[in-house]
């Protein structure tokens, strides 16, 4: 359920640390962030700054040490493992750097995968998958296996898989990190379209300033502390 002020992601005083050989390494410290519905947020920062950790926490892939993460009005820090899995299936679409398609399934079957967990009939699933593949302009490649597709095409299939369940948020971890410039541009345009035309809320972790330019909000994470992107980043982006 969306908050009255259209805040879809609400993070309050979030902290996370990892334990390495008896040492506690803080990764995120007292992070607070509100993201409005339909925002395309680019999360930047140097390696090891905690970007992916923050993304994993927002997506319900990891547990925070402290703080609250409320997505669409649901405090996901209070959910157990199985509840979290169910919540992810309904509310989060994932786009990974290395596409993470299942190699033994066709493009169609990969996109259909998240729908297996829904109550949709086979016919309804087929319709949803067709719509998603048309959206990424890969309807003619539905019977191809990932190995028969280029990197850019595989990432578009991954995007179709991410949107097929019409999730509350889309999270993308370096979605163009493994692509050439042309393919990266295609993928970014597609994500921009998802945000502008379909009003999708997207949270994207990226190192690439060109990718960040497509976003309408940019945040910078350094040593576990969140800030607005420094001037240099804007300059580089523009």
């Amino acid at each position: 359920m969306t908050e009255p002020n259209n805040i879809i992601v609400e993070i309050n005083d979030l902290s996370k640390s990892y334990r390495r050989g008896g040492q506690i390494l803080p990764v995120l410290e007292h992070i607070s962030l509100n993201i409005e519905e339909g925002t395309f947020l680019a999360l930047m920062g140097p390696s090891g700054s905690g970007k992916s950790t923050l993304l994993n926490l927002i997506a319900g892939l990891d547990q925070a040490d402290h703080g609250v993460i409320r997505i669409g009005g649901v405090d996901i820090t209070t959910l157990g493992e199985s509840e979290l899995a169910e919540w992810r299936a309904r509310n989060v679409g994932f786009i990974f750097q290395f596409y993470n398609l299942i190699p033994v399934l066709t493009a169609f079957e990969n996109v259909e995968l998240p729908l297996i967990l829904t109550k949709l009939s086979k016919k309804q699933r087929r319709e949803h998958v067709s719509t998603a593949l048309e959206l990424v302009k890969l309807h003619d490649r539905m019977d191809h296996y990932p190995r028969q597709l280029s990197g850019g095409q595989q990432q578009r299939v991954a995007i179709a898989r991410a949107v097929v369940t019409d999730p509350t948020i889309l999270v993308a971890d370096e979605p163009t990190g493994d692509l050439d410039r042309v393919s990266a541009e295609e993928v970014l345009q597609l994500m921009e379209r998802l945000s502008l035309d379909l009003g999708k809320t997207i949270i994207m972790v990226t190192h690439d300033p060109r990718a960040a330019r497509k976003a309408n909000l940019m945040k910078y994470l350094d040593k576990g502390i969140l800030a607005n992107a420094p001037e240099a980043t804007f300059t580089e982006c523009s």
């Binding site: 994993n56 919540w87 993470n100 033994v104 399934l105 297996i116």
Partner: protein
């Protein structure tokens, strides 16, 4: 869709999985063959009837009993029929042509063994002719004997050449009936002994006793043995099953060793399948992380891993079971001298199935546990 995924995963590493299936097929085949050898060992015990008793000398089978015991035994309550005989131990042409041969009192003996099917006219011919012999169909086939042939046995326990005319060929009513035995008239043996070794005449190696009811076995056996207690030839009477078990127990150590080897084979193949599954799961840890990310719970992963493992083991096990029949047939022909009944029992097939399924399940416990317990973030790091 998940079934499709399971099958495609199982065929993903064709060579590796083909070798695993091949190994499993051989293991199940070997397991089935060893179990069949054990069953063959017990074939005599299995074929025993509950309403037949065997009486022998209390000291040993090597010692005989007087023929005069026959009438006394016949008078015991519960006894329906009494036959008797001797292990003859004759050799046909060469020692390697081994088969069991007995001199028996034929009329009561055949009555007591309804599982030996003999054509009526052959039976009459056999009973009429003192120099006649009756053989099992398998034995007749082995040596190409036909009705009317003269067969000469060279006696070892009872020296001399014993010429016998084949008058009857019996077949088995049950699959487990031994069709490789040789019988001839005890009277013929005894008459000869009266002339050549009178001290050995009128003595029998064992009495076969048919009971009116199977549940009288214990009481009748006790009555017979107590009747000859403190005589110069005391007896031991036991059920035919116990008598046969006595022979089998002589080979107990070998049977135990075969049992252990069959279990070791299953343990080895379990390790091989577990290794295959561990490799597969390790390679796919990233994919399982993707499944978890998409919201698939642990049971889906467990189902996929167990399903793939069971597919491999059931396929390999099925091939092994199918091969067991022709291999057992060939083996049975090769070792027919030692195992007259060598059939793959239904029980063996059930055990094969249980072994294949157990291997599939146990081999996937650890890989499934790992796949379920590896964190999503860690699993995703394994990609790229």
């Amino acid at each position: 869709m998940l079934l499709k995924l399971l099958l495609r995963n199982a065929l993903r590493h064709k060579l590796r999985n083909a070798l695993t299936v091949c190994g499993l097929c051989i293991a199940i085949l070997a397991f089935g063959m060893l179990r069949t050898v054990i069953s063959a060992w017990y074939a005599g015990v299995e074929a025993s009837s509950a309403n037949r008793l065997v009486t022998r000398n209390a000291i040993s089978l090597l010692f005989s009993l007087p023929l005069s015991y026959r009438e006394k035994i016949r008078a015991v309550a519960g006894v329906k029929t009494v036959s008797y005989g001797n292990w003859f131990g004759g050799i046909y042409i060469d020692e390697k042509n081994f088969f069991a041969n007995f001199a028996v009192e034929p009329k009561a003996y055949l009555e007591m063994y309804p599982e030996y099917i003999v054509p009526e006219e052959q039976k009459e011919a056999f009973l009429r002719d003192r120099k006649a012999c009756a053989v099992g169909a398998k034995l007749a086939k082995r040596f190409g004997w036909e009705i009317g042939h003269t067969i000469t046995l060279k006696g070892t326990i009872f020296p001399g050449n014993w010429e016998l005319v084949l008058r009857a060929i019996y077949t088995g009513r049950e699959k487990s009936t031994d069709q490789s035995q040789f019988f001839f008239h005890w009277d013929y043996l005894n008459e000869s002994l009266r002339k050549t070794a009178p001290s050995r005449a009128d003595k029998v190696g064992f009495y076969m006793i048919g009971l009116t009811k199977a549940d009288l076995a214990a009481r009748t056996a006790e009555a017979i043995d107590s009747m000859f207690q403190n005589s110069f030839a005391e007896t031991i009477t036991e059920t035919e099953k116990a008598f046969q078990m006595g022979f089998v127990s002589l080979s107990e150590a070998i049977i135990t060793a075969i049992r252990l080897v069959s279990l070791v084979i299953i343990a080895i193949i379990m390790a091989v399948v577990a290794n295959t599954m561990i490799m597969s799961v390790r390679e796919r840890m990233g994919e399982y992380a993707v499944f978890k990310t998409l919201g698939f719970g642990p049971m889906y992963l467990v189902g996929m891993i167990f399903g793939e493992s069971l597919f491999i083991t059931c396929f390999g096990g099925g091939l092994g079971i199918l091969l067991t029949f022709p291999v057992a047939k060939g083996f049975g022909v090769a070792v027919g001298d030692w195992f007259p009944v060598f059939n793959v029992a239904q029980e063996t097939i059930y055990m094969d199935c249980v072994a294949a399924v157990a291997v599939g399940l146990i081999a996937s416990v650890f890989p499934a546990w790992r796949a379920v317990h590896v964190g999503i973030a860690e699993g995703l790091r394994r990609i790229g």
